[in-house]
């Protein structure tokens, strides 16, 4: 049972990571910096609950603010470059963050324990959940309340003029500028929102794994982050959720019985999925078919 609860937790946290990349991807930017924001969120929230004895929720708030501020600061120079150059720039940023935490030591003695990040050995003993008597089920529930709130917020944003403008910038930057949209402001805002979401996700991640280290936040995690919204499609936020369930639930856990052959099939299945559904698992056609299933045509035309 705990295995499944754990899996559901992983899916929840990775959904947050995927949604942070989703925001940025809406504006047409492929960013591999999301794992860096995720790492910053993880270390900030962990240090606040362990070293400063903060309760969890304010600590997550602080990690959201710090990660968002870093994303905003990174956004200005990084979003001046486009396409492949942006990918390279954001990978460089992610690696810089990882190497920072590789070298970062800030420990406090508490009894016979040393608490806090310890360079390459990582940051152990982030024991907020067990110390406060949260069961695995409680943690899972908490994660999914946060995921639901973030998804609801993004869903609403998506349907407001903000979402339309983000997508317009992703479609055609020149036309967006010529229609009076300040594309730098739009792209930096999207990056900031993405940073905030990744910060919250990272903060939660630090607490349910209880042990974080630099190696968890490398290029592989950044690749996963951007793969979720690309595989899921950009029609709406549920595409990303679907892709996380597909990758984490089916490809990574579901194929475990295949041993080392799993990784081979894993890559192959992603390529296959992208070929069968080039615009994402949940593309515009699928959304239309689903909404036809649930709403009468009258309601839809009024939407």
């Amino acid at each position: 049972m705990d295995f499944y609860l754990g899996l559901i937790q992983i899916i929840g946290v990775h959904t947050l990571l995927g949604l942070s990349a989703y925001c940025v991807l809406l504006t047409g930017q492929v960013s591999l910096a999301q794992a860096g924001f995720f790492a910053i969120g993880a270390y900030v929230a962990g240090m606040l609950t362990v070293l400063a004895q903060w309760p969890l929720i304010p600590a997550l708030g602080a990690s959201a603010v710090v990660a968002g501020a870093v994303a905003c600061a990174v956004g200005f120079p990084a979003l001046r470059v486009k396409g492949l150059m942006l990918v390279v720039a954001t990978v460089a940023f992610g690696e810089a963050v990882r190497l920072f935490f590789f070298n970062f030591t800030y420990q406090v003695q508490a009894g016979n324990l040393h608490l806090g990040p310890h360079g390459a050995e990582g940051f152990r003993q982030i024991r907020y959940f067990p110390q406060n008597g949260w069961s695995t089920f409680d943690v899972m529930l908490f994660i999914w309340v946060v995921v639901a709130l973030v998804m609801a917020g993004l869903w609403w944003l998506d349907r407001s003029r903000v979402g339309t403008v983000l997508r317009a910038v992703g479609e055609d930057e020149l036309a967006a500028q010529s229609s009076g949209i300040n594309i730098t402001a739009v792209k930096v805002s999207a990056m900031t929102i993405g940073g905030v979401i990744a910060g919250i996700g990272g903060g939660i991640f630090a607490h349910y794994t209880t042990h974080i280290e630099h190696a968890q936040f490398g290029v592989v995690l950044a690749t996963f982050a951007i793969a979720y919204p690309i595989l899921g499609g950009l029609s709406n936020v549920f595409g990303t959720l679907l892709a996380v369930i597909f990758i984490q639930g089916f490809l990574i856990e579901g194929l475990r019985f295949m041993g080392d052959w799993r990784n081979l099939l894993f890559g192959g299945l992603i390529v296959l999925a992208m070929n069968i559904r080039p615009r994402g698992l949940l593309d515009a056609g699928a959304v239309q078919a689903l909404s036809r299933l649930f709403f009468s045509s009258k309601e839809r035309s009024g939407a």
Partner: protein, 249 residues
């Protein structure tokens, strides 16, 4: 209302636009014609701010806008269409117009209303524009799925969504049939009646000659003639450089 003062744009050794003086008076329709490569589209791009000027100034209503960024010029009242249609293909017709509501007046609205709620005024404006361009029925279609003529109309509609004082139309009749050109002619006249100044770049001579009050002719980045349609048609320099030495279309 718009003045180009000695405007030049050189791309390396190519003098795409070379020392042009051009004035557009408030409320007029100015036609801009010239052979391919004579610098017409470059002028539109310069007025919109897509490239920095090599030299000269662009003055709108007495203020120098030469250094104003692209998006801010829309707020100042300059909107455009593109020679090759550039719509937001995966957005609906409605959304294409919604995105473009960026005039100074629209910007001064309450921030929350403007970005998160839909104000009734904004909705009504979109509905009126759609009505005017006969696109009401296509409201929820994706722009990419429209027919060519409808896409041209939508682009015109999107430019008007920003409530411009000056509208730059870059070959709006390209690829249209006679009936569509007729409708376009009517719409340009109506837009002018609403007090919008129009700079029309067009290859289709019948349309320009019919709708424009004045015409400026470019060749090799320089202005070779300017005047009423009749005067320009009679000008021997224009005939030689552009319309050919025989008959006028």
């Amino acid at each position: 209302m718009l003045e180009l003062q000695g405007v030049s744009k050189h791309f390396g050794g190519v003098r795409a636009v070379d020392g042009i003086d051009l004035t557009v008076a408030r409320g007029e329709i100015l036609g801009l014609i010239g052979p391919n490569g004579s610098g017409k589209s470059t002028i539109v791009n310069l007025i919109c701010g897509l490239f920095p000027l090599t030299s000269g100034r662009i003055v709108l209503d007495g203020t120098d806008i030469s250094d104003v960024p692209v998006h801010a010029r829309v707020t100042c009242g300059v909107a455009r269409t593109f020679q090759n249609i550039r719509l937001f293909g995966q957005l609906t017709v409605w959304q294409n117009l919604w995105v473009a509501q960026n005039s100074g007046e629209q910007r001064s609205q309450n921030f929350v209303r403007r970005w998160f709620g839909g104000s009734r005024g904004a909705r009504e404006e979109i509905e009126r524009t759609l009505e005017f361009f006969d696109l009401g029925r296509k409201c929820y279609e994706l722009a990419a799925n429209l027919a060519f003529g409808e896409q041209r109309r939508l682009e015109f509609a999107r430019a008007l969504s920003a409530k411009p004082a000056l509208l730059l139309l870059d070959e709006p009749a390209a690829g249209m049939n006679a009936e569509e050109i007729d409708q376009l002619d009517n719409r340009i006249r109506k837009v002018r009646q609403d007090g919008i100044t129009v700079l029309l770049i067009e290859h289709h001579m019948e349309l320009v000659m019919s709708v424009a009050d004045r015409i400026a002719v470019l060749n090799f980045g320089q202005k070779i003639a300017e005047g009423t349609p009749a005067a320009v048609q009679a000008d021997p320099v224009v005939r030689q450089a552009y319309l050919g030495t025989t008959a006028v279309a």
